[in-house]
């Protein structure tokens, strides 16, 4: 059988101000009819570039510097744009990542479908409409006859992605490139969309290139997989073979870095670090600064610090206790007419966190998990309920004074490492700000020494303090953010999706770091994540939220082995996992 798509020796380059950057380096790839071929790799692997090169929409100024892209034997490279444009949509189509932005907001679903169908085949408007309706039904949309004339903003994310798929299918293409088609969706919707893609592939006998960063997704639906790294093919073959018996060290490490749902590991395998440090960075030292100094400072200056042995000891009183918490947001602006409409983000939440414990909070988007964190730190004002911290009443944000001790004792690590550091400050300024703000150091020399030491503690070179955030990768920035939280000498740390913006290998490093810090300093942590596998690795107990309500609270082992609530069971079932 000849391949539907045959990529031979493909190289793509991007000219930049530092010279040419090679995004793809001599890629070979073959995709057959009726199979799903997965492309997996971390950011910078070049997986999306392959998709863009195949459909001929490489982002300027990137260009194909060598190689061929054979589609049914015809070379697409160097094809004139008119002919290429005929093929686009007609024989090769594409599914984009974010359904919120990939549909034209000003045109109805019907208009967009009919136009695409009629673009590539000579059918009447009403026939095209009939075809559109049956396609939408096929993708699992309900009430199609009336909803087809609605606009994209009237559909939910998952529904929009079905429309996107219908649009990609409506011309009966032979090849579909799906670029992270489920990344923007919740797990339950992801499961449905993946099932849909798989069944369409089989029924219509089309070839699908599925681009994803998620090995779980690869494992679940692909027939073949190609592992990419830095624009090169690491390994390729049938999915079961590659994942079941990886030939390359990188593939093995990549899989090991994925948090497992079925068992808790003490530490993750560390993938070969790609934060390459030169000697300039490692040789630079502040006198007497070291990770040990930082540890000692953090432990000694805090008398109330819990001993690690105190972990999960229920004889203690909770360090944080939330009862009957309720948060209501006003939707939109209070109108001129009509009453204020409220949206309940959280309803009657009761949570206890014990000293030295990691409490995991899971939930899908809109479950209110971030709102919970914000209510505790005082960014959001609860409409009802009360909070206790270390036995004292913890006033809501509006009434919490700027000098309140909890403002130091509770620290937070955020999700997005690109927005959580002020880009106009040096790392030294960023980390020394809490030290100065809380008066934790008496002189400048000490502060500097402390900043350098705490950087070592989070496994960063001391010289990092001279640089600006934009000079670091996402994982490094996140460690700087952890360092900033640590120097406040907190007793309670809130981590809101601290790893969800990171590649798995970097995630593994950061989770290892957090585990170490938690054990050394006996921190109490509220760990929020949408990723059940991550929660399993980090948490002692688990809390499940859904639509602002608390569904279940349980010990981690108990929860993952036999969740009592139906919704929890469903969540666990739907999370893609590695079973190798």
């Amino acid at each position: 059988m000849t391949a539907l798509l045959n990529i031979e020796n493909l190289s793509v380059k991007f000219p930049t101000r530092f010279g040419e950057f090679t995004a793809l380096d001599s890629i070979d790839l073959a995709v057959y009819k009726g199979e799903i071929h997965g492309l997996v790799g971390e950011s910078g692997a070049g997986k999306s570039t392959i998709g863009a090169a195949v459909i001929g929409l490489l982002q300027s100024p990137g260009y194909i510097s060598a190689g061929r892209v054979l589609f049914n034997g015809d070379d697409l490279v160097g094809m004139d744009d008119d002919t290429y444009h005929q093929i686009r949509g007609d024989r090769i189509s594409m599914i984009f990542q974010d359904p919120q932005t990939s549909l034209n907001p000003l045109l109805t679903i019907a208009t967009q479908l009919i136009e695409t169908i009629r673009q590539h085949s000579n059918v009447s408007r009403s026939d095209a409409r009939q075809k559109a309706i049956s396609l939408l039904k096929e993708t699992g949309l309900t009430d199609v006859e009336t909803r087809i004339d609605e606009y994209p903003h009237q559909f939910s994310g998952g529904m929009r992605q079905r429309v996107v798929i219908a649009l990609a299918l409506c011309t009966d293409p032979e090849l579909i490139i799906a670029d992270e088609p489920t990344t923007a969706l919740d797990v339950s919707v992801q499961k449905q969309i993946l099932a849909l893609i798989k069944s369409l592939c089989a029924e219509r006998n089309i070839g699908i290139v599925l681009i994803t960063h998620d090995i779980g997704v690869i494992n679940e639906i692909t027939d073949h997989v190609t592992v990419l790294r830095s624009g090169r093919v690491i390994e390729t073959g049938p999915t079961a073979d590659v994942l079941g018996n990886p030939a390359e060290e990188y593939t093995r490490a990549l899989m090991a870095a994925v948090p497992r749902l079925d068992k808790r590991l003490d530490r993750f395998r560390n993938i070969v670090s790609d934060d390459e440090l030169n000697s300039d960075d490692t040789d630079w030292h502040i006198q007497d600064a070291s990770a040990a100094y930082a540890s000692q400072w953090l432990l000694s200056n805090n008398s109330s610090q819990q001993r690690p042995s105190a972990k999960s000891d229920n004889n203690h009183d909770p360090i944080l206790s939330v009862s009957g918490l309720e948060v209501t947001f006003n939707s939109g602006q209070p109108g001129w007419f009509g009453k204020e409409r409220g949206f309940k983000a959280l309803t009657n939440i009761n949570i206890d966190v014990f000293p030295g414990e990691v409490l995991g909070v899971v939930g899908e988007s809109g479950s209110g998990k971030s709102t919970l964190a914000k209510a505790i730190v005082g960014l959001v004002n609860p409409s009802a309920g009360s909070m206790m911290f270390k036995g004292d009443d913890l006033p809501p944000g509006r009434h919490r004074s700027r000098k309140h001790q909890a403002r130091r004792q509770i620290q937070m690590v955020f999700q997005d490492p690109y927005s959580s550091l002020n880009n106009r400050q040096t790392v030294e300024d960023i980390i020394s700000e809490p030290i100065n703000f809380y008066n934790l150091s008496t002189n400048k020399t000490d502060t500097r020494k402390l900043v350098a030491s705490v950087l070592n503690l989070v496994e960063m070179p001391q010289r990092a303090m001279l640089k600006y955030p934009h000079q670091f990768s996402g994982g490094q920035r996140q460690r700087i953010a952890v360092a900033r939280a640590l120097v406040a000498q907190p007793e309670f740390l809130i981590c809101d999706e601290p790893t969800s913006a990171l590649d798995v290998s970097i995630q593994a490093q950061l989770l290892n770091l957090l585990k170490d810090l938690q054990q050394t300093f006996g921190l109490s942590i509220l760990f929020i994540s949408h990723n059940l596998a991550v929660i399993r690795q980090m948490a002692d107990r688990v809390v499940v939220l859904k639509n602002g309500q608390l569904i279940e609270t349980a010990g981690t082992e108990q929860f993952f082995n036999s969740p009592s609530d139906q919704y929890s069971q469903q969540l666990l079932r739907e999370t893609p996992s590695l079973t190798f």
Partner: protein
Amino acid sequence: MLSFILRRLLQSVFVMLAVSLIAFSLFRFVGDPIAQMVGQETSVEDQENLRDRLGLNDPLTTQYGRFVSNLSKAEFGYSYRTRQPVSEMILSRLPATLELGAISLIISLLVGIPAGIYTALKRGALSNALLIATLIGISVPTFVIGIFLIYLFGVSLGWLPTFGRGETVALGWWQTSFLTLSGWKSLLLPAITLGIYQLTLTMRLVRAEMQDVLKTDYIKFATARGINYRSLYMNHAFRNTLVPVVTIIGLQLGGIIAFSIVTESVFQWPGMGLLFLDSIRYVDIPVMSVYLVLIALMFVAINLLVDMLYLAIDPRVRLKGAHG
């Protein structure tokens, strides 16, 4: 949708009340109205009588109420400078300004929008030339453009008149220059002068918006579906640039009215701008304040129109009301 319109209408009323308050304070507090009306030799007693008769000793709220009710009845009072009724003065100048503004708006849109789309889509010599032209267009002051057009076509070549409206025809009270050749000839240079700056703005804006839209996912997706380029650019991309473009066109109408002051001054065009300029030079407060109110009224009307256009263009605005 209905509540959207109602809310906008209500806002407009508030804006008009605010502007009329400014106009009233102008009228009442900038300079002494009595001192402007009477000669030096009038006795203090007579002045006080006049003050009483005109109601200037009434409480301010009463005066403001009277001011607003007079405005709404189009009773604008008398000019300090010419002693004519302000309403007559304005009415005689209004057609000239509106005709000039209309033609320059048409010029700026008819040339600016296609040129903006073209420069957003194509690279090349023509595109670069147009971009350089826009740079000059926003940099050369309107009055300098006017002067050079006068010099070239009026003085050097002698093809077109350099001032005034030419022959006009009366349609009721409306004096139009659209019906005579000399009227059109006179209109040409001022309209181009006034239109060029707005044209440049339109073109730059359409280009910038179009470039932004072309980078969106939905355009990439439509390209990946092989939608033909004509529909891709016009039906998909350009339509999405309309919301900001309509906003700016609304603002531009304001710009045209404002810059008509300059153009009218260069070409001695007998419109409202020239009247306003004279009223500023001679501190003719009644004319100034009425001009202000009328301009505000125009702006409010334009903004309402723009809002209605949003409703027509963007389903997200249109359907927001329907969903509550």
